[in-house]
Structures are given as C-alpha cells and as structure tokens.
Amino acid sequence: MKGKKEKKSSALRKNTLREILRTKSRFIAIFAIIGISVGFFSGLKSSGISMIATALKYFSDSHLMDLSLLSTVGFDDEDIEEIKNLEFVDEVMPAYASDLIITQNDIDSVVKVYSVPQKTKTNKHPLNEPVLKQGRLPKNEGECAIESYFLGMSGYKMGDTIKFNPSVEGRATTDIVRHTEYKIVGIVDSPLYLTYLRGNTTIGDGTVAFYMMIPPEEFAVERYTAVYVRTNASDGRVYELGDEYKELVDEQKKEIEKLSLKCVGRFEATTLADAQKKLNDARKEYEDKKTEALDEISKGEKKLLDGSREYYEQSGEAQKKLDDGEKELAEGREKLEKGQQDYKTGIEEGKKKLTEAQEQYNDGLAQYNKAKLEYDTQIDEAEKKLQSAQNEFDIQYQIFYSSTKPQAETKLTLLKEATDILLELLEKAEAKLNELRKSEILGEGIKAQISEQKKKIAEYKEKIAEYQQQYEEGKKLLEDGEKQINDAKEKLDAAKAELMSKKAEGALKLNEAKTQLDTAEGQLANGRLEYETALSTGMMELQAAQTQITEGEKKLEEGKKQLVEGGNEALLKIKQGREELAKGRYEAHVQLDDAEKKLSDAEEQLSSLENAKWYVNDRDYNPGYSGLSEDADRVDSISKVFPVFFLLIAGLVCFTTMTRMVEEHRTETGTLKALGYSNTAIAMKYIVYAGTAALLGSIVGGAAGLLTLPYIIVSTYGIMYSIPPTVLTINWASYIISSVTGIVCISLVSLFACFKDLRQTPAALMRPKAPRPGKRILLEYIKPLWNGLSFTSKVTARNLFRYKARFFMTIVGVAGCTALMVAALGLKDSTTDIADRQFNKLTMYDQIYSLSESGTAKDKEYIMSQFHADEDFENTLLANMSWGYISHEGHDNSMSIRFTIGEDQEQFLKMFILRDRVTHEPVPLTDEGIVITERTGEVYGIKEGDYVDITLDEEKYRCRVTGFTENYAGCLGYMTPEYYKKITGSELKYNVILTRLTEDSRELEREIANRYMKSDEIITVTSMVEQINTMMDMMNSLDFVIFVMFFCSGLLAVVVLYNLININIAERVREIATIKVLGFYSLETANFIYRESLVLTILGGLAGLGLGNVFATFIVESIQMDNVMFPKEVSWLSYLIAFIMTIVFSMIVNFMMYFKMNKISMVESLKSIE
C-alpha cells in the first residue's frame, strides 16, 4: 500500500491520545505485559552480571591475589624479589598463615590464623585486604581480628580473648605465634573466603572452623609461609571469571612453578647449603669440643688417679712403718704381759704348791686323826655289838629250853591222844554202818541213820587228818628252834674272832701314817722358803720391761698422729679434685648433649627442608570460588530461556489485543480512509498506540525489574556468599534487546492486525462487518452428548468454537502462563531434593577418612578392625576413591570422574545405591565392567555395553560400561576390585575408609573425627555434611530466582487473562446487553460469559501443563552441567499448583470483570451495529 507522505495531523494525534485515555484497560494491559516481560528479562539478565560485578568489584577493591604460593620451606625476601621481578607480576605480598587449635566447650576447633595483609616494598596495596565490619584491624601485640561469619556461631564477641591450646600436633603454639591469647579488636571478612566453606586441614578434626588475623609480627616463624601474587591477569584485561583469565593464570602459574625450581635450587644452594655447612661446621666444632672436653676430663681423671695413687702409696709406707712399730710394741707389750703373766703364774703356782703341800699335810693329819678316831669307835662298837649279841643268845637259849620246848612237847602228846580217841569213834561208826547195811529191809529210819553214820565217819576222818597235821607242824617247829639256837652260837663265836684280828690290823696302819706325816712336815717348810725368794726377783724384772713399752707406745702415737694429719690433707685434696672433675664432666656432658640435640634438631629440620617444593594455587583453590561463576552462570542460563517464552506469550497476547482493537475501529478506519488519510497515517495510530504502551512498559517495567531483581537475587546469594553490597550492573544489551523486541513486535503485530482492514475500500469498511455467522460445531453431531448439555452449555460450547483464532489465542496465552508457572515449579522440583536424594538415598556415607599412603595392608586391617568395633558407625567400608578421566569415542574432551572401588561388596552396596532413576531397579555391579552415573552417560552418549577409555594414575585403560546409575551430583564411576585388577593388572591400594554413622549429628561426627585424626593411619576426615549443605544452599539460593519466575508468571497470567476476558466482553457487549434486556439477572449474565472464560482457562491450563513440562525440561537442561544432573521431573503437586493458580487468577480476573459487565448499559443493545 502506498500512501502519500504527509504530516500527521494534530487531529489524528489527538485521536490517538483520546483512544489511549478511552481504552485505559487495554493500554494498561499491553503496557503491563511488555513491562513485566522486559523487566523480568532484563532484571534477571542483570542479576547474574550484577553478581559477578559485585564479586569482581570485591576482588578488585580488596586487591585479591591471583595466585597464592605455599612452600614446604617457606619463602624469604629474595624469593619475593624474584617473584616480583617476573614480568607479569604486579604485586607480591609475603604473609604468614598457620592452623592452630582452640578449645571451646570441650570441643577442639581448628582456626586458620593469617597475618593481617600489609603493604610491603613489593606491593602497593595490601593484597586480600579484609573488609572491616567492626572495630579495627589488629596492630599491637596480642590483638586479633576474627571473621564475621563464625562470630555468632562461635559465641565470641568484640573484646573477648581467644586462647589457643598450648600445643599443636606436638609443636608448641608459641613456636608459631608469639602469644597464646589474643584479644578480639576487630571483625573482618576476608576475600579469600567467599562462602562459608573454610576448607580442610591436617590437624584436629580435619576441618577449619574459622579464620582470624593477627599482625605479621606476631608470628614466631622465620620464613614467610605464604606469598600472594597479583598479576596482570587481574588488571582488567580479561574477564576474571572467564576461561581466558584461567588460561592466562594457568600460564603464569607455570611460570612461577618454573621460577620455583630456581628459587628452590637457590634455597638449597644457599640457605640450605649454608645451613648444611654451618651445621657441618657446628658438628665439627662440636666434635672437636667434645673431644677436647673429653680429653680434659680424662686428663683430670688421670691426675686425680695419680694423686690419689701417690697418696695411697705414701700413706701406705708410713702406715707400714707405723704398723711395724706398733707390731714391735705390741710384741713387747705382749712379752711384758706374758712375763707378767708368767710371773704371776709362777707365784701363783708356787703359792698353790705350797698351799697344796700344806693342805696335803693338813689332810694327812686330819685323815690320820679321823682314822684313829674311827678305829677306836669301830672297835668300841664292835665290842659292844658282840656283847649284846652274847646277851641275846643267852636269853633265847634259856627261854627255849626252859619253856618253849616242854610246852611243845606237851601239846604233841595231847594231839596224840585226841587222835586215838577219834580213831576209836571211827571204828565204831563204821561198824554201825556196816550193821545198818546188813539189815535187809531198809526202812526210812534206817536210811537216815545210815546217812547220819556216814556223815559222822566223814567228820571223824577230817578231824583226825587235821590233828595229825598239827602234830607234824609242832614237831617241826620245835626242831627248827633248836637248830636256830645252834646257828646263833656259831655266829657269835666267829664274830669274836674277827674283832680280834681287825683290832690288831688297825693299830698297825695307824702307826705307818704317823711316820709319813712327820716327813711331809719337813718338806713343806723347805718349799716355803724357796717361794719367797722367787717372788721378789720376778717383780723387779717386770718393772723394767714395763718402762720400755711405755716409751715405744709414745713414739708410735706420735707417728700415727703424723700420718693421719698428712693423710687427711691429701684426701681432702683428692676429694676436691674428684668433685671438681665430676662437676666438670657433668657440665661438659650437659653442654655436649644440648649441642648434640641442637645439632640433630637442626639436621632433622634441614632434612625436612630437602626436596623443597612450592605449591602455586589459583583463586579456585580458595573454598567456594569455583562455585561463584557457576552460580552466576546458572542464574544467567535461567534468564536465557525463561524470559524468551515470556516475551513470546506477551507478543501473542498483544496481537490478540491489537487485532480486536483494529476490528473495533473498522468504521473509523473506513471514515479516515474516506477522508483521504493514508494507510500509513492510519496504521500509525495503532502502531503509536501499541508502541507507546510497549515503550512505557519497557521503561517502567525495565526500571522496576532492573532496580529490584538484581538486588534481591544477589542478596539471596549473599546469604551463601560473603560479599559486599550488590553492585548493580545493568545488562543494557538485554534491556535494550528486550525493549526493542517488545516494541517492535507490538508495532509489527499492530501493523499486521490493521493490514487486512487497510486493504479494504472505505465503503466496505464503513459497512458494518457482518457478524460471524453462527455455525454448528462438531460436538452437535454427537447427538447423545449434545442433547445432554444444558442450554447455556450449548451456547458456551458454540461460542467457544465460533472465533477459532481467539479461542486458540486465549488457550495459548493461558497455557503459556500456566506453562511458565509449571516451569518455575518444575525447576524447583528439580533442584529441591537433589541434595537429599544424592546424599540420603544414593551415596549414603557420612565421612571419608583418607588413609596414609605409607600405611601397610596390615595397618589398614588394624584400623579397619577399630572402625568395625566402633559402635558409632553403622557401616564402614574400606575403599579406593580416586580421580581419573573418562572419554568416549567421538568426543575430544575427557571429563574427570571419581571412581570408588569398595573392598567389601556387601558394605559397598549399603553405602552406594546403584539403581535406575526411573524404575529404581538395582543396577548390578559385576566383575565384567564399570557402572557410571547416568549424566555422564548422557553427556557422552554412552550406551550399555559400550567401551570407554578411563585414565587412572596416568595410565589409560579400556573398560566396558555395564550400567548407569541414578546420580545427581558429580561424575562418578564404580567397579569391583576384581575388575580393577582385570583391567590394570595390578593390585588395588585402598586409600579411604567411608563410614556411615548411626545418627545424623554434627557433634558426633566431630567427636569421631577427632578420635581418629589422632591415629597415624588417618590423614584427613571429610564430612559429607559440608558438601550436602553446600549443595543445598546452592539449590536453595536458586529458590528465589524460581520464586521470581513464578511470581512474574503469575503476574503475566493475571494480565493475560484480564486482557483476554476483557476482549471477550468487549466483543460481546451487545449480546450481554440483549440478554440483560431479556431479563437475565446480573449473575446469570456473568455466568453466561464466565462459563466460557472458565472453560478457556481450564483448557488453556491443561494445555499449559503439557507445555510446562516441555518448558521445564528445556530450562533444566539449559542449567544443568556436565557433572550435575537435575532430574527432569515435575511433581504432580507442581502441576496442580500451577493449574489451580491459573484458575484462581482467572477467577480473580472474572471477579474484576463482574463490575465491568454490570456497567454495560442495556441501551447499548438498541444502538445500531457500528
């Protein structure tokens, strides 16, 4: 259509302006749709870069280092100079850092202590300058600054004192820092720590709890422990979070590593060699001194020995002389004593002999006297006895013969007579008996008589015997008596004879004794004389000898005294000498030992300095750094896709709106055409109308989006990242692109909408456009169904299908909004529980204990047995965890992958759930191949049974993939020890122990970690809690972005629905008025319209659910990385929420429309069709 170029008349402009004022709601709808879309898109697009800009500003403000250097031997100023001299190095800052331990509530925590960044001659600014949150930086002795993040958690306050444990791993704390107590004077945030991750350490429970800063002078170590380097990579030439920066820094890293060889070489050649030399010198000096000292000691010893020997010799001689003297003296004394003794004995003897002789003589005299007396007595007695015996005999003799003998003879005669009588009686008795016996008849009397006779006989006999015996006895007694008298006469005669002889004998003996006694008396007198002479001579001799001895003793005493005096002196000297020597020896040994220890310490230290190495780390080495750009990217990738859908829907809805508008102005268009306005001028009205709405929308919406979203989103991430306030960076490109796109699209849409009308003649346009004929719809042909519908339902059904385009548009518009909501919620579903799924359902270990490389299989067995016995562990698994690379045919790049090989398959399967994501069927791990994570397979397009190349320990192996397991975080692989052996041909070395605790408790974890960190076999303990939290935080921080998405989608839904329902009502004003006239009540009228929009909303919503799934998948795909899989699963709840929200929005809009509908005047129905 060619139109004359003409100046737009002011009337037309007024018309357009009035149009806008008249149709406020339509204008606002377009304004809002574009505003929301542009604001959302540019706001989100600016969030990622604002986040990055904030971080970059932080990096630059704090002069964050590009490279941090650590060394096994520390650094010296020369190293710093060397580094500084590198071409690309801008600034170098030497620093100190050390891990120390504090104990709080019985829990040991590891603290990383840094020196406060300083300006030195090699750096213009302090590098990694901390942000001071409170107080001031420590600058005096005993002051420190603590990080803000852990301030609340640790319970420390400003002004508190932090007290270190006195020793760290056997090393005194004061060897590392000057004090053990530091007062908190400031609270800081170091740019070295972007997140709350504090990294690992080899001491304590293996995790750094927090960091703090003290002045560099407070470090007691000699060489710098760290060097921070800022290179030209961060001078703004490249994007510091991009690959280019990484490459550049990598190169620089290599340069420094190269330099490190030189520096280490120099260190070894100078410092180390010096030290070695010094050490050697010291060693030599030590040895010399030692020898010298020992020599001296032995000399002293010898002197002492000599002295004491001399002393002993001399004193021996003197002693001997003394001894000799003494001996002689003793001999003399002995002799004297003997002499005295002899003298005494002699005298005694003489005396004794004399006495004895006297005694003998006396005895003899006494004996003689006694014997004479005895003899006289005995003779006297004997004569007396004899006399009495003569007398007695005489008496006895007389008695016997005068009395006894005649008496006995008389008796005997009597007895003789009695016996005779009895014999007569007996005879008589016997006779009588015989007589009796002769009588023939023995009567009773006779018998008695017989027995009586018999008895008498027995009695007689007995008496006879008795008398006879007495007779005999008497006779005998008489004879005996006679004999006795005769005997006694004999004896008496014998005694008389004996006495006579004895009397004579005794007198003889007494005479002899008298003679002897007289002789002895003469001898005794001689002896006494002799004795007295000897006594006086002996006495004189003894006295002379005594004098001699006394003299000798005196001499000896003198000699002894001399000897003792001399000896004591010598001994004292010897003792002193010995003491001096001992002291000297002790001192010498102490000194030597000290020297020796110092030497060996120095040697040990020196040997630890051998094989010196520098470690050059880039920024990613700091915990949390690598996540930053990923997080920013993730926000960015969400904003890549989502807002595009948004704009699409906005465009669509605007098209509908504008089409309707153009239709409404059909007559006007015709009139204007008829009046001669060009097509362009007419079209301009719509373009200006829509364009103005879009322009205003993009200005207001853009401003709103740009000024809110980046702040909100970045500060949401700020919970995770400790970065300073957001630096708003507007992504002008996205803003302009989205605005321009919005405005241009709307204008084009408007042009397109009026294009059809402009082509018609004015006359045709001025004729009312025939209303679209009613048509039977397909549904009507399904009679049973159609007839079953209520009248109004039929009307609704037919209405719905009447304007197919509008029907379609509405459904698409609603569906789009629903889909956006589903996508937002689906994204939430995908990100919400992956941490939970990953760590509570798939990889279920809580801790990783890494084992010392030097540990033998036996050590491992031992530590495993300890772990097995520990009841705090639910499962323990000895395993090999190592990083390698995986690559697959047709893919150039390889991906790093972590292999886990468990020793015990049963335990392994308790900690690693290998299963299919969808079916949850277990994925078997066999000796025939490896199982890898689903995402890895997806990235490389690996199919089951395919062969992949893996690199382990720099060796490449080919192995078969036997399965894929559900996994969300990380690129992981699993195999059996047997398969490992099969492919590598070597025996597997286990390097970790994985454990699962009986309860989820951070305290328990720390306690156990502390328990085992003490063991030599355990180097570090990694807690999965950290990882889980990191991942959860990462995902949770996406939540806000998702919420914004959801909110904006909802907002869009409201606007779209409002717009669509508004159009619907506007189109049917006449109809509504008519049915009102027909007597429909307000609610009935509303329902007549609502039913339709409700059906449209439901249909659109349902379509949106399907579309939302597609959206969600698309968005999830766009944000997932090679090593993180987000499950593309939208939960039914999300669908439900999105659907219900759509319905709710629709109802809200309908409610708003109710009033509008009520306002429709029935008078309208009477007007002619325009």
Partner: protein
C-alpha cells in the same frame, strides 16, 4: 380489558453529557389500556426511545411514576427490574439483537429458559411463520425473518407488554409491512398490549392509540376507535 394498563405520570429523564444536561423526558404523562396497539411517534430525539426504555425497564426515570398493570415500576431496584423485564416485558429491537451464535429456535429458547410460564418455542416460531427456518442461524436468515425470530423470542415469554423499537427500521417496505401485520395480528388475536415506537407517522392508522411526542413531551394522545388493517395502509 384493564384501563390505563400502562400509565406514565409526569416522568422526567435527564442525561448529563459533560456540562450539558439533556432532558430526554420532560414530564411525560400518558396512559395505554390493556390490549391496545399503541404507537408512539415522533422525530428523532423526541424522547420516544427514552420512554420505551423506561417502560421496558432498561432505563430508569429521574422523576415521576410509571404504572404497569397497576404496579409502580419506577422505584424498582435492579433485580426487580430484571424480574420485571423477564416476566412482564417482551422487547423487539430495531436490529433484532439475535445472538448470532444461536439458531432461531435457540434464540427463542434463550428467552424461554429463564421464564417459568412460557410458550413452546416451536409453537411460537410456527406462529410467526418460521416453521421451516427454526434451525437456521441468524446469519442465514433475512432481516424480516430475523425480526420474526426476535418477535417470537419476545412473545415466547408470554409478556404482559410487547415493546417494539422501530421494528421495521432496518427492513424494506414489504417485509416491514409483514412484520407490522404480525404484530397487529398478535395484538388482535391474542390480546397482547403492544407499544411500538416509530418515526414513521404513516403507520399510525393501524394503532388503537397514537401518542405523539416532541422534545420530550407528549404532544397528543389520541385513541383511534377504528384502526385500519395494515394491508390497507400505504406509505
């Protein structure tokens, strides 16, 4: 037949158009008896449509009283007005106002479905002579036919009052004539009270009563004792 079935007493209606107040009904008073065929005639802007709208319950008056069947409808609220329209009024529009998406029969049903006591839609359509076109959509019908549907829709509700707003205005002569014939027949045969407004004075002879309006006032209210059949009227 009730006398003064419809009665306007001093009815005023003013429209405010910005600063200008237009008095559309300026003290209108008239009455119509039951069963009459009344024609309100006047030039455009004479206030006849205003009167009809107020009578039909689609507009309200500012002052005065309107009685229909003895009931004052001038003070009814919105809902009662809707009920009044529903049960007492049949409205025939100049532009038929059929729902384009509904067939002839359905358009009638649209009215009957909300009335308790209504005529069968087929019967009504038969009576307006549209037996053959019941299932056609308005677009498939001629203007006259559409107006017949409109009348059928109004009649089906068994209204007390049939109001017609220039029913022939959009129709050609013959068709208009036949529509008027139909209305006259309905009035005569069924005793329906019909109020018809028109700018065409030529058709007044067919009415029982002719009310002439001018500038919002009733100029005359004349009863025609012998109305002419429509066939005899030419214009």
């Amino acid at each position: 037949m009730q006398k003064d079935f419809v009665k306007f007493e001093n009815v005023y209606k003013r429209y405010k158009m910005g600063e200008v107040t237009i008095t559309a009904a300026d003290g209108v008073s008239f009455s119509i008896d039951e069963g009459e065929f009344a024609v309100v005639v006047g030039l455009s802007g004479a206030g006849k449509t205003t009167v009809l709208n107020i009578l039909g319950g689609i507009d309200t008056c500012d002052e005065g009283k309107i009685f229909v069947g003895g009931r004052d409808i001038s003070r009814l609220n919105k809902h009662d007005l809707a009920s009044y329209r529903r049960y007492d009024i049949g409205f025939v529009f100049q532009f038929y106002n059929l729902v384009p998406n509904l067939t002839a029969k359905e358009n009638v049903e649209l009215a009957t479905q909300i009335c308790r006591d209504h005529l069968d839609s087929d019967t009504v359509l038969d009576s307006v002579g549209l037996s053959e076109r019941k299932n056609n959509f308005p677009a498939q019908l001629s203007g006259g036919e559409q107006q017949r549907v409109s009348i059928a829709r109004a009649l089906a509700k068994k209204p007390k009052l049939l109001l017609c707003d220039e029913p022939t205005g959009a129709l050609d002569y013959n068709t208009g004539k036949s529509i008027l014939k139909l209305l006259q027949t309905k009035c005569r045969e069924d005793g329906m009270t019909v109020v018809l407004i028109t700018h065409n004075s030529a058709i007044t002879p067919m009415a029982n009563r002719v009310i002439r309006m001018r500038s919002g006032r009733v100029e005359s209210n004349v009863v025609n004792p012998s109305p002419m059949p429509i066939e005899q009227i030419e214009w």
